[in-house]
Amino acid sequence: MLGYAFEEALASLRRGGRAAAMSMGTIAIAFLALGGFLLISANLQRMVQRWMESAEVSVFLRDDISDDARAEVEQRLKGEDAALQVDFLTKDEALERFQADFPELADVTPTLGSNPFPASFEVRLRPGATVADEAAALATRVSELSGVADVQFDRQWLERVLSFIAGVRVAGFALTVVLLLGAAFTVTAVVRLSLHARRDELDIMQLVGAPFGFIRGPFVVEGLLLGGIGALLALLVLGGAYASVRGWLTPALSGLLAGEAASFLSFGDMLLLAGAGLGVGALAGLVASRSAR
């Protein structure tokens, strides 16, 4: 039965020509959008994850802090579980770093009269999912210590970036669902066309008592092939596009990705896309074939 269904479905796709190609194209566009969103959001998420792992809490000290108070702050910081490393940065070192990071502004700093940069402790955080909360609590506790002017925790904005990425991902999925629905309707229409082209044959199949699986099978397989080939096309185009930009993208991103190269979709994601293509196509074929009774 399966052999018959594939044989008839392939013959129908050959007969369908342009309509079948259009249907595969629509599926491919939908899956290109889905794959693109997956690819971009996965790399963005990885990038932000790297940033989070190297995130720091900066504890800025008042200029008039006593040595005892500074030692107290340092001791408290080193005792925190979330802290991996605690470095002290003097006012002069902070100025030097500013001049090194912003050489074009180096001329401005002497005109300020005194060094405006505060001394600070830079706390490297231990990587991990729960550290963000611990570090936020740490920032709150340390900010209450005497001699502490301000505490900045750059992970907070990174988390906002992460939630933005999650939002982009949700929007991407929503758009993909709309595109997939469109693709499913196209597949249904194409399968219905081939069903009408074979109306006489179907009538005869019913009269000779062919099981419904035999009557509907070719149409389900036709949808399956349209969806599967469409998704495969999308993966090929996405892979080709990724390969062509990877050359210049990797050096550009290597800093952001802490030396790691940008990566393509995982094998699991590719399987998911191909499976979704097959599933959407088969479902659309099944819906269309329900009129073959």
Binding site: M1, D200, D203, V208, G209
Partner: protein, 221 residues
């Protein structure tokens, strides 16, 4: 074998069959006669489950057709061979494929499909036209292909709706000879026709319909 009990089939206001009750025994050869619009084709459609009666019961082989599920309908149809005036052959398939198709959709192994298709095509005298397409055949040959397809899965009943309607008198007699031979093997044959020559030639019972009603059940003419 075939029983209809008070069967009425209405299409809107028009009653194609009215309160029809008849019985056809197992192994019988029966003609269904009457003018165009008398209800012959409607009765065959009810027996093939292409239509459902508006009222009454159609019972075949002890099974009330109204109570069959869609899957059971398909199983029932496998026990019935059909032959139509317009042949209903698939133009894109060869003679051999048209006949073996009835076995293929039933999942019969390919070697059995080949053997049985060849046997039945040989029986109707078309073993030399296996690879021809329907449109390359004469009307009589096309009808013989349709008969071969109806017979290939060894049905208990053959239903034929004006099977000689498109054929000249000589070919019509040839086709009737085939039906008579099928009947001698024990298959119940029901042929709808309005051709009295054929009825006389075969010399079997005829059921005459008029305006959807049973007009008379004749014995041998």
């Amino acid at each position: 074998m075939i029983e209809t009990q008070n069967v009425t089939k209405a299409y809107g206001e028009y009653n194609a069959l009215r309160n029809l009750t008849l019985t056809i025994g197992k192994g019988e050869f029966v003609f269904l006669t009457g003018a165009s619009g008398a209800g012959k084709s409607t009765l065959l459609k009810l027996l093939l489950l292409q239509e459902r009666p508006s009222e009454g019961d159609v019972v075949v082989g002890g099974r009330n057709l109204a109570r069959l599920s869609p899957g059971e309908v398909q199983a029932y149809r496998r026990t019935v061979g059909f032959v139509f005036q317009d042949f209903k052959l698939i133009a894109a398939k060869t003679v051999f494929e048209n006949v073996s198709f009835a076995l293929r959709v039933l999942g019969v192994p390919i070697d059995q499909q080949r053997r049985r298709t060849y046997q039945v095509l040989k029986w109707v005298g078309l073993q030399h036209r296996l690879q021809a397409f329907p449109l390359e055949l004469s009307g009589g040959e096309q009808q013989r292909v349709a008969i071969a397809r109806a017979l290939v899965n060894d049905p208990q009943i053959i239903l034929a709706d004006e099977p000689t309607g498109n054929l000249d008198p000589e070919l019509s007699i040839e086709i009737m000879k085939l039906f008579r031979e099928i009947n001698t093997r024990g298959t119940t044959v029901l042929v709808a026709t309005h051709n009295p020559e054929l009825i006389r030639f075969v010399n079997r019972r005829s059921i005459h319909l008029e305006h959807g009603r049973l007009d008379q059940v004749g014995g041998m003419p």
